[in-house]
């Protein structure tokens, strides 16, 4: 095998982690598990559930925007819906999706370890996630009604509104705690649990991406934690720290919020980039081009991404000097992302490309993410930003990088690792059809927003001028195409889960360690701790014993 050697063991001895005997039976064998694979699966179902909820809310929002004025809901409802859509998507889906689901499941396996460093802490993270989610849902049906501040909770409105901000914000705080503990767990796992021969530069790039992500999680999340606590204290006791009536400065709130929330977008995108770096070599049958630059650029993005938060505040009244510096740093952060895109495309070059469903999603990602990234530069430049700030252009950019980046790659990862996680194969043809639908629907939905934003359509507005209607109608129709694609995709996977063909251990000819164990993996991941002798994407050795499909 290319990547290392594992002593041969009789196949009969293997019982996968679903069927292994545990102390607790039935549902408790899941709820009290400390196995990273089971925790990953539990995250997966929670995350997909919340994605579908927030997606439905998004569909309703688009439906409301079909005509100017009231289509079928009141303005206050619309405000609550866009807040909910943002909060659920960001805190319950995008941030945990790739690290908590695929990171939990695959990081230890890719490192040749048997679990994360702190398995019990890992389970605690999952419970904190669930508690945060329950609190967020409770806040909808209690107190002064559904929060209407937008996901940014800007003061002073968030301390004045009578809606249930405190509980929602506390939910976000608890979710932040879950994120921190996961990050802490992953960093120590990567430092301590790499198998023999797995040097830093033999780690799969997904592990590198998670390493960079985890550092951001550990170093940025506490700042939002304290900021959110201050909002709660402000609402409860009127301490005055963010209240302009008492001498507080709302601008400081914005700084504090974005000191976390800008690095947070890299928490969202870096793991996705790691997945791309796994999928492309596998389906190009070629080692990755520029392994070291890709690994280091993850760290560079994490580092520079920490210093650019001010670009969210160009029109808030910060000084010209700081605006220029933040703008310059914003351009810098585009460089490491560019390096990655360049290396991925260079990996494809002269590769033996196989366009499977995961690969199709990845190609879609490169197309969409490039648009998203380049429009980010338009927003990062001071003069164009003043024209485009708080318009649909920002909304479009955000969805191109976040949904087009993280969301699409979540689908890619789901298809790439589905055979390994569940031991079943899905219908490839249907999966590809869904990917095409998603690609078309996505661009129909979000591209008109660039145009609308450029023409001056403000974000978060309930009503609009009649001349924008043609774009809104187009986008709304796009949302239907997109959603039908997503539904087809999930149904296809659900059918595969129920009666898919049994998956071989290595259906794609992957070279990283997760493909060297059974599908689904055994409880201990490997019968024997593997020893690694080469880099992660070495396709040079012919894998005669690999069963292709």
């Amino acid at each position: 095998m290319a990547n290392g050697t594992i002593a041969a063991v009789p196949q009969t001895a293997e019982v996968n982690f679903y069927n292994v005997r545990t102390k607790h039976k039935g549902i408790l064998s899941w709820l009290l598990t400390i196995d990273h694979k089971r925790i990953g699966i539990m995250y997966l179902f929670a995350v997909v559930f919340f994605f579908l909820v927030a997606m439905t809310i998004g569909v309703f929002m688009r439906l409301e925007m079909l005509t100017p004025g009231e289509t079928f809901m009141k303005p206050q409802t619309y405000n609550s819906l866009f807040t909910l859509h943002g909060v659920i998507m960001i805190f319950l889906f995008i941030i945990p999706a790739v690290p908590a689901v695929f990171g939990n499941f695959f990081l230890p396996i890719q490192l040749g370890a048997q679990d994360v460093q702190f398995p019990k802490l890992n389970l605690l993270s999952w419970y904190l996630y669930v508690i945060g989610a329950v609190l967020a849902l409770t806040s909808l049906f209690s107190g002064g009604g559904i929060m209407d501040t937008g996901w940014t909770f800007y003061v002073p409105y968030s301390i004045r509104t009578t809606t249930n901000v405190s509980l929602s914000v506390f939910a976000a705080f608890v979710l932040g705690f879950a994120t921190i503990l996961t990050g802490l767990n992953f960093i120590t796992t990567i430092h301590r649990l790499r198998c023999p021969g797995m040097t830093w530069f033999r780690m799969p790039l997904f592990a590198w991406a998670l390493y960079a992500t985890s550092w951001i999680q550990v170093l940025a999340t506490p700042v939002i934690g304290i900021t959110l606590i201050l909002i709660i204290l402000e609402r409860a006791f009127g301490i005055g720290i963010f209240d302009p009536a008492l001498g507080g400065d709302p601008l400081l709130y914005q700084h504090m919020f974005w000191i976390y929330s800008h690095p947070a977008v890299y928490i969202m995108i870096l793991p996705a980039m790691g997945v791309v770096s796994e999928i492309i070599p596998t389906f190009s049958k070629k080692t990755i081009f520029g392994y070291v630059p890709i690994a280091i650029s993850s760290l560079a993005i994490a580092l520079v991404g920490y210093l650019v938060w001010g670009h969210h505040m160009f029109s808030s009244g910060i000084s010209d000097t700081s605006r220029v510096i933040f703008s310059l740093l914003t351009f810098f952060v585009a460089l490491p992302s560019g390096i990655k895109i360049f290396n991925w495309v260079a990996t494809l070059y002269k590769g033996s490309i196989e366009v499977t469903a995961p690969m199709l999603y990845v190609l879609l990602f490169i197309f969409i993410f490039s648009i998203g990234g380049l429009t980010g530069l338009v927003l990062g430049a001071l003069n164009t930003d003043l024209h485009l700030t708080d318009t649909y252009f920002v909304v479009a950019h955000f969805h191109y990088v976040m949904f087009g980046g993280m969301g699409i790659i979540f689908f890619a990862a789901l298809h790439y690792w589905f055979p390994k996680m569940f031991g079943k194969m899905y219908n490839e043809k249907v999966a590809k059809t869904a990917a095409v639908w998603i690609g078309i629907g996505f661009n129909m939905l979000y591209f008109p927003m660039f145009i609308m934003g450029y023409l001056g359509m403000p974000r978060r507005y309930y009503d609009y001028l009649p001349e924008f209607q043609k774009y809104h109608v187009f986008a709304t129709v796009g949302s239907w195409v997109l959603v039908s694609g997503i539904i087809i995709m999930y149904i296809n996977l659900a059918i595969a889960l129920k009666r898919g063909k049994k998956a071989p251990d290595n259906p794609w000819g992957g070279t990283t360690l997760e493909w060297k164990t059974s599908s689904p993996p055994i409880m201990e991941n490997f019968k024997e701790i593997p020893t690694v002798t080469t880099g992660p994407y070495d396709h040079s050795i012919t894998e005669s014993q690999e069963v292709k499909k």
Partner: protein
């Protein structure tokens, strides 16, 4: 987590409960980073508002009792010393002495909290609390000073309570011989946490009590 006594399953247990003191300490240090950043957010706000309202801050700072603050500082520093002594004592296999030093630490922590209670109580008595009557006649800077004072010392006090719970748990484990001279990482980790609480106070004390 324990599994069935089945021999093939027995392996799993060993897998999950491996001991790695270095890794455990590393996890603790990472956690301490997050704590520093949590307070770091507040220190940034303090710096920002001190810059805007330097006169108000100077005026409000004179209302704190420097003597009480100094006593509390000495108490906390002493407790940090006793935690270290407890670790050394355990390493030298003197369980009794180790527990004694941990008791001293806990008592120091409790005295600190009692002092804080009287300090806060006196402020409340004079109407100095968020939205309190005394704050109505103060400048914006003074209001901000007391807002930050209550939030920062309050959060710090909460950390003392958490630290005491950690130490209490560790003492129980020492009594039960779970934490021993060859397996004392939990004690060291709670010691690290206690030092962090101490260090944060070392910054809070001059910022609120000494700079006028």
């Amino acid at each position: 987590m324990s599994y069935n006594s089945d021999s093939s399953v027995q392996e799993i247990q060993e897998v999950h409960i491996h001991r790695d003191d270095f890794g455990s300490k590393m996890g603790m240090w990472l956690f301490l980073f997050t704590e520093i950043l949590l307070f770091g957010g507040l220190f940034i706000l303090y710096a920002g508002y001190r810059f805007i309202y330097s006169e108000g801050f100077a005026a409000a700072a004179t209302e704190l009792d420097v003597l009480l603050g100094t006593i509390n500082t000495v108490i906390l520093l002493t407790s940090s010393l006793t935690v270290v002594l407890a670790i050394v004592a355990l390493q030298k296999e003197n369980k009794k002495l180790s527990l004694f030093f941990l008791w001293v630490t806990v008592i120091c922590g409790l005295i600190f909290l009692v002092n804080k209670y009287f300090e806060w109580g006196a402020k409340f008595h004079h109407g100095v609390y968020p939205k309190g009557p005394a704050l109505q006649n103060m400048s914006e800077g003074e209001v901000m000073y007391f807002g930050l004072y209550f939030v920062m010392t309050g959060l710090h006090g909460l950390h003392i309570v958490v630290g005491l719970i950690f130490i209490g748990y560790v003492m129980r484990q020492i009594q039960k011989d779970v934490i021993t001279s060859s397996n004392f990482q939990k004690l060291e980790n709670s010691g690290l946490y206690w030092h962090l609480v101490d260090i944060i106070w070392i910054f809070l004390f001059p910022l609120f009590y000494l700079i006028h």
